[in-house]
Symmetry: C2
Subunit: 224 residues, 2 copies
DNA sequence: GTATATTTTTAGATTATTCTAAAAATTGTA
DNA sequence: TACAATTTTTAGAATAATCTAAAAATATAC
């Protein structure tokens, strides 16, 4: 049962952090993990977990970590929907670069108006992916799945199209900008260097470069 | 000298309230006036005034009311700029009604990003007025002046075009919607009823209606 | 399986914003 | 000018979100 419908920005940020930490494995999320991901002291996290449990947004047992309740998952999903739709707006309509929009979207996602989100969605043409290739949940919270193959798993000679990035940091996206790599760019794995698993790639059938294994693991591609 | 650049949403709301209260006469604004306009207890207002004075956003002398400093005026103007640009976005791009956008804009105005506002301005085509006919300050904070003549000052037989509304409440705007009165609508003063100064008007050369004096005073018109 | 290390919670404080009640200052009135 | 009414400020307290330090629980290691 949802007791209090209106959540503070702070509460929303905790919910989102917990959601992101439990995305991969569906394991309970530890206090310390939340603390680190949000840069907030563990003691403060404990306090908030009690509060969120009280509101039935999470299932919480002392010392055992937390899981989002169905209600909590829905809150998280709607926040992610808003975040990503705003990012599309900022990039497609206001001409921001994909490396400039995260922090602004981080604020915009907390504006509470269902009709605003839905009208924005319509205005943008119901996009399925955000500027980083991340899927945008629909009104019902359903995500379109994206290819999870990374460039580093291709075999030499194989070509992929960039459909998403795992890392979202400004430095990483700026680095891709410098390499003229954007969503939709054709990337061919030319050679894997044995020594350190770094990759020689060809970008848009033009320049060749070396990227580290780590970079390769952060580039999601689909087969051409 | 501006000491702390970042203001809380709360501080911003006080600055805006003080600005609006001193718009007409340039007199100092009293604690009680702020208290009433914001629905916050006078004692709380006093506390905040001390804080804003500390930050040099207002000139404050105990028991004598406050005035915005130049810095404070600039903060207020930029907030109003953001508020009105967002209202234009909501109405022109997302198809909201002019009676539905104020509260959402009240939230959006607190998003802090200079490039966001300026890009939004460009995207909207640098509008000079918002959906209620209120002037939108430019980057430098300059307002385009709008005609301040109200319908109630016309002489019978005279026609005006609606260029703005003084009241912004949802009920008032909804009432105008019902009457098919919008910005740009032609309004002819047919007759002034002596008894209570109510006005018989003709809307878009079509229906005739009676409106109260109060309504007439809330409709800004320019001569046709 | 005890001792040590790590994680989590509790206790006690702090800052921002708000409140009510009471005191102080100012304003209006006769 | 004196008294009353009004306005404003001060005092003391509450709530939300955070912190540090210490205690308690759990996990790891030998
Ligand atoms: Mn983002
Ligand atoms: Mn994104
Ligand atoms: Mn408004
Ligand atoms: Mn407006």
């Amino acid at each position: 049962m949802k007791s209090d419908t209106s959540l503070s920005k702070t509460e929303e940020n905790y919910i989102k952090a917990i959601f992101k930490l439990s995305e991969k494995d569906d394991q309970p999320v530890n206090t310390n993990a939340i603390s680190k991901s949000m840069s907030i002291a563990p003691a403060s996290v404990t306090d908030m977990l009690k509060k969120l449990a009280e509101k039935e947004l999470i299932h919480y047992e002392k010392y055992k970590g937390v899981r989002l309740s169905l209600e909590g998952k829905s809150v998280a999903t709607q926040l992610i929907r808003k975040h990503r739709l705003w990012e599309v707006f900022l990039v497609n309509k206001l001409q921001f670069g994909w490396d400039q929009v995260h922090d602004i979207a981080e604020e915009l996602e907390h504006i509470k108006s269902e009709s605003l989100v839905n009208r924005l969605d319509t205005f943008l043409g119901n996009p399925k992916f955000d500027p980083h290739g991340d899927p945008i949940p629909n009104r019902e919270g359903k995500f379109t799945l994206r290819n999870q193959t990374t460039l580093s798993t291709l075999v030499p000679g194989q070509t992929g199209i960039l459909v998403g990035v795992r890392e979202h940091s400004t430095p990483f996206l700026g680095y891709l900008n410098d390499l003229k790599i954007a969503l939709g760019t054709e990337l061919k794995l030319v050679e894997r260097i044995e020594f350190d698993n770094s990759l020689k790639i060809e970008i848009s059938q033009q320049q060749q470069t070396i990227i580290t294994e780590k970079v390769g693991q952060n580039l999601f591609v689909k087969f051409k």
